[in-house]
Symmetry: C2
Subunit: 412 residues, 2 copies
């Protein structure tokens, strides 16, 4: 480095305590418990069942290398330049084809490309929710969504899930009860298919009813659907909430689980008026998603390699899920219960409260396995009596060994 | 498309008016006037002097194609996977080398990688500003920053710039006056070097004084510095505000103008406590910036092609700026004044008020040239009596012809 004194070591007085200047919302910024143990999860010998990572090893790397090289060599000036805030022109039509596969046919004019699905949650909450508003969400729910709610000073009211997801009548009652106490409820946030973190799927009749009770009450349903194409049984697919009522439902889709999370490209499907406002909000945050990332996603899902690679990845997830189920049967002590997912990345363990003492994350790490403690998936910071296990990114023998270690921990 | 009815045409009742559910902050969402004319600017025959685009044609496309291909072929599983919320590991050290070139030596531990510099503005305003707070900023200021302020219900108090940028005494008086009326001021937002939109540069003594008056008042200075390495005279460089007081100043850097805006990668330099909170906020918005984009940026600025390509681009900007100055001399009517930038992308025209009537943007488009009307660079929606012209992305003959058309418009 140069001879200049490095800033930060100069002893310049500056502001004594910048934290004293933070906005009120900064109190709601919550670090992700998964990200917090990212470094630990990488240690040699540690088995991670924590992160919801897709198997990027199943992707055709050489094909993608060729595509990226061609894009940069032939259209470098364009893909390296600023792009449109709505997304690159041909991507919305390709997104519609993907949504078609899920029986959620829609128009390209209703598609807003985002810098990933997390950005989609951020934009929708930013557009709809004032501080103090309450979002109704599954209990437990996606930890990343809790990060968004916290950052906008939005409260969360959890409705318990069972093996068929949310009970729509319980959601209706909750909305009414919250409103009766003067709270504002505009949004129900849900991951209806292969739920993060529990792995359960909302039943078909419940889907219709959930959308209906929300429409009746003037509440937007935010359907977060990154896993919809990851069903172990390709023939059996339930209608997306968006397909049931595209005015009440705002739909979030993502390339992260069916292609690559590293590129940060996703989408929102919404009514044209909502989509237009989301674009303005999105431009103020990132101008537009990575053009190169969008171009790669478009080339990939528009090409011939995508579907076989996805089938290959889903076959792995199915085998790994089966391996996890078998290991749980073998190693879990009496009184522990778990979900049996039909797709996606996760299973959820309800622990015998007697075994759920202490800091589950660090107890597990002491036993050589990283998991997401269930309490992290609730807004209220309750102690963990449950765990999320991901089977998506670990080899079958690691899954078996990781679950064995967990069993030992729970018996200790 | 499939035979399924497309959502949005089904006549399902759904929510009658989602706009009635929008958050209060949605009133502050303002579409960028530059992006709004993006389509028009692309029409054949139209000359655009609007967008602040770097010359991505000056980049070594074949080299970048090879780099991207190698990254995907050799490390595909990693660069397509989720990454760290702080950024890829080696990028902060490379960012420090770039900042060193500007005389702003700093530590990698103070660098937060962002999904572009716009995302940096968003995160800093989100961290520091509550609704109703006032940000002091140049008048005029960067339109994209106004989009952020509006989206957080933050008011803007403009302090006029002259040929040496902001007057620090005027900033101090403004902060004091705002506070005397009970307003909260935590942030001064400034683009001190080759200012967007005026092209002026804050003088050295003013730099020291600006940081001092803000530090005395407990106000954070947000230094937005995308153009710092784009000086026409490489020898003559002023100290960055951050180098003068790295506790009071939060610094925004970007790869957009020295490499590629399409990849959306930038950074924030800040005290460790602030950086840590910004990371949590950033993870809630986009999890992390594109890994492939970060890897490409790291390979590029860590390699041998970067500096010559930047020199090539800056030489073009210098020639184009000279072409614009000559054309302005030739074609502008009496009473029009403009700035003489020493770097960056822009010059600013103060029009004779008698000639600034009507909708300047559409008058210019009628004459075959696209510009940014000055009013767009103020928060208060004042009528435009000024224009921003970008010389960065147009060929010299188009600059000459574009300015000739503007001259005709102003005489009409």
């Amino acid at each position: 480095m140069s001879g200049t004194a490095r800033a930060g070591r100069t002893g310049a007085p500056g502001l004594p305590d910048p934290a004293a200047l933070f906005a009120r919302r900064a109190e709601g910024f919550r670090p992700s418990p998964v990200r917090a143990v990212f470094e630990i999860a990488m240690r040699p010998g540690m088995i991670s069942l924590a992160g919801g990572n897709p198997d990027t090893g199943a992707l055709p790397h050489a094909v993608l290398a060729g595509t990226a090289a061609r894009l940069l060599a032939e259209r470098g000036s364009e893909v390296l330049q600023y792009g449109s805030g709505a997304g690159i022109e041909r991507l919305p039509e390709l997104v519609c084809r993907l949504m078609d596969l899920e029986g959620a046919a829609t128009d390209p004019g209703r598609i807003q490309i985002t810098a990933g699905s997390q950005a989609g949650i951020d934009l929708v909450v930013k557009l709809f929710c004032d501080p103090g508003d309450v979002v109704v969400a599954e209990g437990p729910t996606y930890v990343g969504a809790l990060g968004v709610f916290g950052s906008y000073e939005v409260a969360v009211s959890h409705v318990d899930v069972d093996d068929d997801g949310l009970d729509p009548e319980a959601v209706a009652e909750r909305i009414d009860a919250l409103r009766a106490t003067g709270r504002t409820v505009k949004l129900v946030y849900t991951v209806p298919t292969f739920h993060n973190p529990t792995g359960v799927t909302l039943g078909e009749e419940r889907r219709r009813r959930l959308v209906a009770v929300c429409a009746e009450r003037g509440v937007v349903v935010l359907e977060d659907d990154p896993y919809g194409l990851l069903g172990f049984d390709r023939e059996h697919r339930l209608p997306s909430l968006y397909s049931l009522d595209p005015e009440t439902v705002v739909h979030l889709g993502s390339f992260s689980k069916i292609f690559s999370p590293g590129l940060r490209v996703g989408w929102i499907a919404a009514s044209p008026a909502v989509r237009a406002r989301l674009q303005i909000a999105a431009e103020a945050v990132t101008i537009h998603p990575s053009v190169l990332g969008q171009e790669l996603a478009a080339e990939y899902v528009g090409g011939e390699h995508w579907r076989p690679a996805l089938d290959r990845a889903v076959a792995r997830y199915r085998s790994r899920c089966a391996a996890m189920m078998a290991a749980l049967e073998e190693h879990m002590p009496e009184g522990v219960r778990w979900t049996r997912p039909a797709g996606g990345f996760f299973t959820w363990l309800d622990l015998d409260p007697a075994r759920a003492h202490g800091d589950l994350l660090h107890r597990a790490i002491d036993h050589g396995v990283v998991v997401v403690p269930g309490g992290a998936c609730y807004a209220d910071g309750r102690p963990s009596t449950s765990l999320r296990l991901a089977f998506s990114a670990a080899a079958e023998e690691d899954i078996a060994e990781g679950v064995r270690r967990l069993g030992r921990m729970l018996r200790a």
